[in-house]
């Protein structure tokens, strides 16, 4: 594989992503809303105002306390029980656990935007044909495209994480006397699960967009990736299935194995001739 060719393709795609406002603005807005503004607003109002202990919320106290007491993870249960108010309990639980799916959603949607555009986009601009006429291997083309999709998704997600950690801790530290987000669970999530998940999603999308006819079809397939995250939201919210560091490590490893499997599929199905005959008319 020729590094110069891979970097030329990756740089070209990165430039295309960041030169089109229609592409990069939504990629920034989504994490800004979900991962920065929303948790900041939630913690501020949860901790600084009495919304959570208003009269209406009082009715909720019983079922919430019952939920906490039956919580499967004992450390978490003890911490939650020890917190003095319902507001603090809700904010603490939300920041530690319910935020995880938000980061997953941002990573998935952003990587879907860039990757589903990769092959289908070249095809729609009639440039895929020219690229296949060039002395580059299909593997070089794939790797260049995967890198170009991976970098913005991961960098944006990391940036959102750092900003979120700084802002939320400024708001919440006086109440909890502990630094949130800088723990094994979150660090494994950010630096192990998110990169492998994004890579998996991108490779899957690049594979799919090299097989389907149009950009829309590629996005339809990519949309399916959101489903497991919905499952995680439900399980986190119910406390039924808990994302412990070990579970997160296993999920990341699962994605890594999935990546190896997809790469094998790519090399098997995407010979230049097969790609050309299926994509160029």
């Amino acid at each position: 594989m020729n590094k110069q060719i891979i970097s030329a393709i990756a740089r070209k795609d990165l430039k295309a992503t960041f030169s089109s406002k229609k592409v990069w603005v939504p990629m920034i807005i989504l994490p800004l809303l979900l991962c920065i503004i929303f948790p900041a607003v939630f913690s501020y109002f949860g901790l600084h105002t009495g919304i959570m202990i208003a009269d209406g919320a009082k009715d909720l106290e019983k079922p919430i306390n019952a939920f906490i007491e039956s919580f499967p993870n004992s450390d978490m249960r003890d911490t939650l029980v020890a917190l003095p108010t319902l507001g603090l309990k809700s904010v603490y639980y939300f920041l530690n656990f319910m935020m995880i799916p938000f980061f997953l959603i941002v990573a998935i949607i952003n990587s879907m935007v860039t990757s589903s555009n990769s092959f289908a986009g070249e095809k729609e601009r009639n440039t895929l044909e020219t690229l296949l006429f060039a002395p580059i291997s299909v593997a070089e083309l794939f790797v260049g495209k995967v890198i170009a999709s991976l970098i913005p998704s991961v960098v944006i997600t990391f940036a959102a994480f750092v900003l979120n950690a700084v802002i939320v801790n400024i708001i919440a530290y006086p109440y909890f006397k502990e630094v949130l987000f800088i723990n094994a669970n979150w660090l494994i999530l950010m630096f192990w699960v998110i990169p492998t998940l994004v890579l998996f999603n991108i490779v899957l999308n690049v594979l799919v967009s090299a097989r389907v006819k149009s950009f829309q079809e590629a996005q339809q397939f990519g949309g399916l990736m959101v489903l497991p995250v919905v499952g995680i939201i439900v399980s986190q919210a119910s406390g039924f299935f808990f994302l412990s560091p070990l579970v997160l490590l296993l999920i990341g490893a699962g994605f890594l194995i999935g990546n190896a499997f997809l790469l094998k599929l790519i090399t098997k199905f995407n010979q230049r001739n097969a790609l050309f005959e299926s994509q160029i008319h």
Binding site: A8, K12, S20, N126, T130, L132, R272, F276
Partner: protein, 322 residues
């Protein structure tokens, strides 16, 4: 295998080394898509340094032939050699040495002309700003190098595509319908640039087209493809010798022959008060006819009207159907 230029030697000696002159050889090439034959028993050779027209109606298999020669799709059967490489096994070696202008201007519209060329030169492992500048200058696009390709006219895009195809100094250049969508001026420009590239850089050129009259002046030899078969091939003069059984000569003259159908034994019809169309058996008779006319009147122009590529093409097609 038959050569396009039968009279040319198959090999020449350069400094005591035997050099093959055929840059492309195809023998019995067949291609099927989903059981439907696209090319059938196609055999031809192309001389290094020549400009070749691959002509035929839409769907004749011209584009498929170019793709096969570049190894981006595989032939069902038959053998090919392009610059001594087999497209099936050594496609990348061919693609390193061949340039392509596909039918649609395959450029990135959101990038400038310069950035497009830099990208493709890196893809071809041939990044050289001097070469890019030289090509932009040659195709008169240097002053627009920083403009987005999306803002260019079809003709300008075509020139950038042509520059793109020449970045890596190819030995062989394929062009698929290079004049499609161009205005007459754009067509003339492309023909002019192609001649220049062929002469200055000694690039062998293969042009696919269904618009025949544009290629008349530029091509050295022709391949006629129809329904996936090569129905005729040869140089212009070879084709004329074979298919011109009579000469139609249009003469602009003040001649008023006494006989309303014959002059000096040559039949004619009057097209306008100053134009007569003569039918002759051979080109050799033109001189005698003109001498006879000049003895009696003036001549402002004379032209063989049935030797155009288009006329030859229809004749060839007609005969191949019989």
């Amino acid at each position: 295998m038959e050569n396009i230029g039968e009279s040319l030697p198959k090999e020449i000696k350069l400094g005591g080394i035997l050099v093959g002159l055929d840059i492309v050889e195809a023998l019995g090439v067949e291609k099927e898509f989903a059981g439907r034959p696209i090319l059938r028993d196609v055999s031809f050779t192309i001389r290094e340094g020549s400009i070749n027209g691959l002509l035929g109606p839409n769907g004749a298999g011209k584009t498929t032939m170019i793709r096969l020669l570049n190894g981006v799709i595989d032939a069902t059967s038959g053998t090919m050699k392009v610059m001594d490489y087999d497209p099936k096994t050594h496609g990348d070696e061919i693609r390193k040495r061949a340039g392509i202008v596909t039918e649609s201007a395959a450029l990135y519209h959101d990038m400038s002309a310069w950035d497009n060329l830099v990208f493709f030169s890196r893809v071809y492992n041939a990044y050289d700003p001097k070469r890019i500048r030289q090509l932009l200058q040659q195709f008169e696009m240097l002053d627009k190098k920083d403009q987005l390709v999306g803002t260019f006219s079809t003709g300008m895009k075509k020139r950038i595509t042509l520059a793109k195809a020449l970045l890596h100094k190819p030995r062989l250049l394929f062009l698929d319908e290079p004049t499609n969508g161009l205005d007459p001026e754009g067509i003339n420009d492309v023909i002019h640039y192609l001649k220049q590239v062929n002469e200055e850089e000694k690039v062998t050129i293969v042009i696919c087209s269904h618009v025949l009259h544009q290629l008349e002046t530029i091509c050295d030899s022709f391949l006629f493809l129809n329904g996936g078969r090569i129905i005729e091939k040869g140089t212009r003069s070879e084709l004329e010798d074979k298919y011109l059984s009579e000469i139609k000569l249009m003469v602009e003259t003040g001649l008023q022959p006494a006989d309303s159908r014959n002059f000096l034994g040559y039949p004619y019809i009057r097209v306008s008060p100053t134009q007569l169309e003569f039918t002759l058996a051979a080109k050799e008779e033109i001189t005698r006819l003109l001498q006879g006319i000049l003895n009696e009147s003036w001549v402002h122009s004379c032209e063989i009207t049935n030797r155009s590529l288009e006329a030859l093409y229809f004749k060839i097609r007609g005969e191949s159907h019989e």
